[in-house]
């Protein structure tokens, strides 16, 4: 798996690794939604687009995940996949494939309530990139 779970006493986190920034942000989305739902059961037929900005890469990562999370806890959309079409240090554009939540089909595994700034760390690691994010659950 391109990410691993971080143990936290009250909450949970993920450390994500990827060869480039685009993949890093896409994988962070997968890692978050893997905690919420079994993404294999999603079809991803509905589409939307996101434009995210931040003051630096760490802020961009938090804002990215919090917008994705709002698709879930604001609109009850479960994200199957995110495609980052353009990324720079302070902004990104992405295409999102999702399913509207249907309690009869989708089992919610963990209720992620927020994306925290605590210990946020997006940096180059070896030949690629790495990020650690802690979620409020």
């Amino acid at each position: 798996m391109p990410y691993e779970l971080v143990d936290h006493t009250a909450d949970m986190g993920v450390t994500v690794r990827a060869g480039n920034l685009r993949e890093l942000f896409e994988t962070a989305c997968q890692a978050m939604f893997d905690q919420i739902v079994d993404r294999r059961n999603l079809k991803g037929r509905d589409k939307t687009q996101l434009r995210i900005t931040g003051i630096d890469l760490s802020d961009l990562m938090i804002n990215w995940l919090r917008e994705l999370l709002f698709l879930w806890n604001g609109h009850q959309y479960l994200v199957k996949q995110a495609r980052v079409v353009h990324i720079e240090e302070k902004a990104l554009n992405a295409r999102i494939a999702y399913d509207p939540y249907n309690p009869g089909i989708h089992e919610v595994l963990t209720d992620i309530k927020a994306v925290t700034y605590h210990g946020i760390d997006v940096r180059e690691a070896g030949a690629g990139w790495q990020a650690t994010v802690i979620f409020d659950v």
Partner: protein, 477 residues
């Protein structure tokens, strides 16, 4: 970072580096071991670096690693120099606990417990994304945010005495609904009257032991009486509000050039436009949480009456008290011999005002404030009372619960191959729950020993034990 033991229940980390004040930890020899390995003390040292912090950054015995502030953290800030921090209050603004006691004894309802648990589970919407039965317009929701518990009372949810026995009478007066985002309004409109998930619960219990007869009498508690304990907060509205202000303050902080040890500590000067706006929004979320608990307690009253076929009078379910866990408040405290207005942040901590405090209602003027300490769902919960020592040392604050010991993953691993439901049943506790892994994540062993925690706050003098409750049935998200 050296931990210096002061006495059996107090430790200190002396001021060094960027710390503006020392850090003081209330704990016991056994409890403190559990947090030495994680980030709790580092987080407390970070809090001690915030502008305008007074006396010491404080941690209660149920402390554990949080984000930004540690859970179990208390900090008082000077109103001129100090800051207000959304991360220091937490996402679930006014997450809190409400206790009610009935006239019924456990013996009288013993054979009806399964039906009661089923009916409560039906009437208390639980779990991820659960929605309430109330249909609120934006105008209605704004009234909830402005008025708090009295709004619920005006709609027939509860009794006047419930409000008297609620911290701040269930309403922070500075709430301004215009500070709440459209997103927070959207989430709040459909979730009023819901319990949520995670560590939130409704528990039917019984008063097992009285430790202080005179105070217990004043609180209406007697051995054998059936109780209802409720733990929930401001749901998506509170989370969204915290998130909105954290995002805004993080951007502004870089403009102000303040160096923060952790971005989750993003904050604003108390008197600044951003600080005032956050406080007014936080007050809205606090009022929403009180309304939420008011509605849920009313649903619990309905469930008891329906299952037992009794009148409200025969049930006699009286609210003992309702307290906040995650909040920032302006209070009068004596600091270095001077009375001053302090902005007290309690993050996973409880107010613990002493006898005679002017903010307490007549019923508790002689006893001090009731403090409600839920334990894990298989062991016990406690009722404590506030003391002068808390006022003198901890900005009138104490612990808020048992505090987690295991991560959720560790708890799930430990629960493999076991039936937590059967283990609870063997202890006489019926469970009804929604989430697939809720019982595993919330199993009793995932929490610290609540008895050890309350002994530590009593030992240090910042609260005194009044009564012990034993769980009979628990409803979880």
């Amino acid at each position: 970072m050296e931990l210096i033991q002061i006495d059996s229940y107090r430790w200190e980390i002396q001021k060094s580096g960027a710390m503006r004040v020392p850090a003081r930890i209330y704990s016991s020899e056994r409890l403190i071991e559990a947090v030495k390995q994680d980030e709790t003390f580092r987080q407390l040292v970070n809090v001690a670096q915030l502008p305008g912090i007074l006396s010491a950054a404080l941690a209660m015995p149920d402390m554990h690693w949080g984000y930004g502030f540690p859970i179990g953290g208390v900090a008082g800030f000077d109103c001129e120099e100090g800051v207000i921090s959304p991360g220091g209050v937490g996402y679930d603004i006014n997450c809190g606990v409400r206790l009610a006691v009935t006239r019924l004894t456990h013996e009288e309802i013993r054979t009806r417990m399964d039906h009661l648990a089923d009916c409560l589970y039906q009437k208390i919407p639980t779990g991820v994304g659960s929605t309430g039965t109330l249909k609120l317009s934006n105008a209605d929701l704004k009234k909830v945010l402005k008025q708090g518990s009295p709004w619920a009372l005006s709609r027939g949810y509860g009794e006047g005495a419930d409000i008297e026995h609620t911290e701040d009478k269930g309403c922070m007066p500075d709430a301004d609904p215009n500070t709440i985002s459209k997103r927070a309004m959207e989430r709040g409109r459909r979730q009023l009257g819901t319990l949520g998930s995670g560590n939130h619960f409704l528990e039917v219990g019984v008063v097992e032991k009285i430790h202080d007869q005179a105070v217990a009498d004043a609180f209406g508690l007697a051995e054998g009486l059936v109780t209802v304990l409720l733990h929930t907060g401001s749901r998506g509205l509170g989370h969204q509000t915290c998130d909105d202000f954290l995002a805004a303050m993080t951007r502004n902080l870089n403009i102000d050039g303040m160096a923060l040890p952790d971005r989750q500590l993003a904050c604003a000067k108390i008197g600044s436009a951003a600080g005032i706006k956050y406080y007014r929004a936080m007050a809205c979320a606090a009022n929403y949480a009180w309304t939420n608990r008011q509605i849920l307690l009313n649903n619990a009253r309905d469930a008891f009456q329906q299952v037992l076929g009794i009148s409200p009078r025969d049930l006699g379910m009286k609210q003992v008290y309702d307290i906040c866990h995650n909040i920032a408040k302006f209070e009068q405290h004596t600091v270095e011999g001077k009375i001053r207005r302090v902005c007290v942040h309690r993050k996973g901590a409880t107010r613990a005002f002493p006898p005679g405090h002017p903010d307490l209602c007549e019923d508790f003027k002689k006893t001090g404030q009731p403090i409600l300490i839920p334990g894990d769902m298989g062991t016990a919960s406690y009722v404590l009372a506030g003391t002068q020592r808390a006022m003198d040392e901890t900005f009138g604050s104490t612990c808020h619960g048992a505090g987690r010991l295991m991560s959720r993953n560790a708890a799930k691993k430990s629960a493999k191959g076991r039936s937590i439901e059967k283990e609870l049943l063997s202890k006489g506790v019926i469970a009804r729950w929604t989430g697939k892994s809720t019982l595993a994540e919330e199993m009793p062993q995932a929490y610290k020993d609540v008895t050890e925690v309350v002994h530590a706050v009593e030992g240090s003098g910042i609260s005194k034990i009044v009564a012990r409750l034993r769980p009979l049935a628990v409803i979880k998200g």
